[in-house]
């Protein structure tokens, strides 16, 4: 519940060009992307969608940049109250919750396949028809031999947890610690501490991504583990891939916060942008722990 004073200064912006450009940018991005995908699947070498996608991406990026800049300017102009800050806090938490539910769909797919489908494909229960379709198939997880190897060739081996994935786990967990040191830097009003630890965190994020790229390269070239390798490859790449995309986003967010910190933004009682990025970073960290457990350790 708001106190009256903060209530009365709630800032309502006047008209804005940002939303319509953001909508246009999003639309062009997916419209161009749709054409590219359809042309790709139809076997065309070039797609008319490329330029539409690039234009859409550019418009979206410029609009988002302007939007965040505008919000930061308004904040520096002291137009925001404590109540406005609470709005941002609520919004960020519920945004993160929506991301949790997105990942939940993919984790649920993994669990469902592992605990029900694999057995059913092997003829468990009363699933006669699948057993008749592929009588040679023996159920296993990780599924290296698929029911129809001609269509889904399967991987040579599964991705074990104790090499690069363990190193990546250590990197990501450490980065959650270093970002907390950076947070202490804000609270103690030590800008140097903030900047240094934030820079370390961003570097750890980049390192994580670099290792993941190498892991994917290794999977494709040495292990036969591909998107097309059947359900093991599907769940492996989709879960770790979406996580990687979120780490990328989180790293960009922290990088922006680093630049802002170097410009002198953030004080102990006014650092929502930084805190929101930190929450997001912890979120991708927790998702990774789930991945490490269910995809790498229990999955291989």
């Amino acid at each position: 519940m708001a106190t009256e004073q903060s209530y009365e200064t709630y800032y309502v912006p006047h008209k804005s060009w940002l939303p319509i450009f953001a909508s246009l940018g999003l639309f062009l991005t997916v419209y161009g992307g749709g054409h590219i995908l359809n042309d790709m699947t139809a076997g065309e070498a070039h797609s008319s969608g490329t330029w539409i996608l690039l234009a859409g991406g550019l418009i979206t990026a410029v609009t988002l940049f302007s939007w965040f800049r505008k919000v930061i300017e308004e904040d520096h102009a002291r137009l925001y109250s404590a109540q406005m800050n609470r709005t941002y806090v609520w919004s960020m938490w519920w945004f993160i919750f929506s991301e949790v539910m997105f990942f939940a769909a993919f984790f649920a797919a993994l669990f469902y396949i592992r605990y029900y489908v694999v057995g059913w494909l092997g003829g468990e229960g009363e699933r006669g028809p699948t057993d008749m379709l592929w009588p040679e198939y023996t159920p296993e997880w990780p599924m290296l031999n698929t029911p129809d190897p001609a269509k889904y060739p399967g991987a040579k081996e599964a991705m074990g947890p104790w090499g690069l994935p363990l190193i990546n786990t250590i990197i990501l967990v450490s980065s959650s610690v270093t970002v907390t040191f950076a947070h202490h830097g804000i609270n103690e009003n030590k800008r140097k501490k903030l900047i240094n630890w934030l820079a370390v965190t961003v570097l750890l994020g980049v390192l994580f991504l670099a290792f993941q790229v190498y892991e994917y390269y290794h999977a494709y070239t040495a292990m036969g583990l591909t998107l097309n390798a059947g359900i093991y490859g599907t769940t492996f790449f989709m879960l770790t891939g979406f996580h990687g995309a979120h780490v990328t986003l989180g790293t960009i967010m922290l990088l922006v916060m680093l630049i802002r910190a170097m410009k002198g933004h953030f004080t102990a009682d006014n650092c929502f942008g930084f805190e929101a990025s930190v929450w997001y970073w912890h979120f991708v960290d927790v998702v990774w722990l789930g991945l490490f457990l269910f995809v790498y350790i229990m999955g291989s």
Partner: protein, 532 residues
Amino acid sequence: MSAVIEEYHHDHQHGPDKGILRWVLTTNHKDIGTLYLWFSFLMFLLGGSLAFVIRAELFQPGLQIVDPGFFNQMTTMHGLIMVFGAVMPAMVGLANWLVPMMIGAPDMALPRMNNFSFWILPFAFSMLVSTLFMEGGGPNFGWTFYVPLSTTYGPPSTTFFIFAIHLMGVSSIMGAINIIATILNMRAPGMTLMKMPLFVWTWLITAYLLIAVMPVLAGAVTMMLMDIHFGTAFFDAAGGGDPVLFQHIFWFFGHPEVYIMILPAFGVVSQIIPTFARKQLFGYDSMVYATASIAFLSFIVWAHHMFTVGMPIAGELYFMYATMLIAVPTGVKVFNWLATMWQGAMTFETPMLFAIAFVILFTIGGFSGLMVALVPADFQYHDSYFVVAHFHYVLVPGSVFSIMAAAYYWLPKWTGNMYDETLGKLHFWLSFIGVNVAFFPQHFVGLAGMPRRIPDYALQFADYNMISTVGAFLFGFSQLLFLFIVIKCIRGGEKASDRVWEGAHGLEWTIPSPAPYHSFNTPPRDLSDAHS
């Protein structure tokens, strides 16, 4: 720095701009609410005209007007447009207009994001509708887009359908976050949660549902996209996946989705019935808890849409019993509405007529829902016209009637003019008769075995289908009368008082009619009339 402040404050004092840019650039919750409502009505007419094609084809047995492939596109697009384009945006439009006024807030919590949420929709629906004109035709696999119909056998335009769903999801999630932030953070001092009007409560809970399930839908269509274009095996048993997995994920979204469409309707009806019964809402607290219970239950009943798919028997039993539990909180609501009317000094203006019709006809839809919840019986009902009758009863005289009730109830507050009561009543009776003539016979043909989503049928279903088509056209054309009434009301009419209805309670009735562009720049002090 101070120059910047002055510039912003100067901006803030503007009234509405003139011309089209007012609507494109607006950050005002009332403007955005109006945009949502008009967009929704446009989609309602578009989705309705697709229903005309369907009903015209089904007027007589045999293939007369369209070929079966196009018929499938019509059923698919009709469903998608009505669910995502008509009902959901109408509810969001009502939330935009009413929530800030009801809780005494200056605007929505995030006004620019509010506008963003709206303007995504015209783009998304342009893209969706344009698929009808693409090579291979539009989506033809039903609004539930089951795999492998939508993956292996879907037309190339499926890709654009998937991205349209993504855009709608982005819009819905941002809209829902905005509504939650507004309700939790912007209430006038002194308005505790249990003093909020019920419409606000139902929207708070609906917004949680949206944030929880729209990402799951995004996940489902993303998996489809990957299966179609990148050779993944989520839904292909040959690679170790399972087509039934799609149904589980889809309905984990789909069942809460039907409550997303009906909970705000409960809120609307809970505002209107007390006004015209001139009594307090019976059992306010139990209404809140019942709404929350329904929302919770909606997450654990999804597989009742899939009884015939071949689940283990324990799953069938669990989902049957869990589904039947929903009748308890829903019953609480229906009895509370009846008890509110009991011994009230009732009058029957158009909003009340729609609200009472809602209670009766939604309950019929609820009862047929209980019938399809029974596993052994559902093996007969599944994918028959009985199911079509069931969900049209909860969606048309349910959600859509509540939206019309809301429009009549708040139009005088929005426009400052009374609508034409005689025409309003005429619109109600035409809609009421049309909707029952259209959908009641579908129960019978469904029980007798007519499957849904087919352009042709056996001769014994001919009479009821003919009646159904007549009713559908009556209902559809009656909505043009609604359009006329609304335009007439906007252009003029008897001036409305601030209170409008003598029995109305709530902060929105304490401000002038039409509601000023900015209603509560400072929070209202007197909350004695905050809810009924």
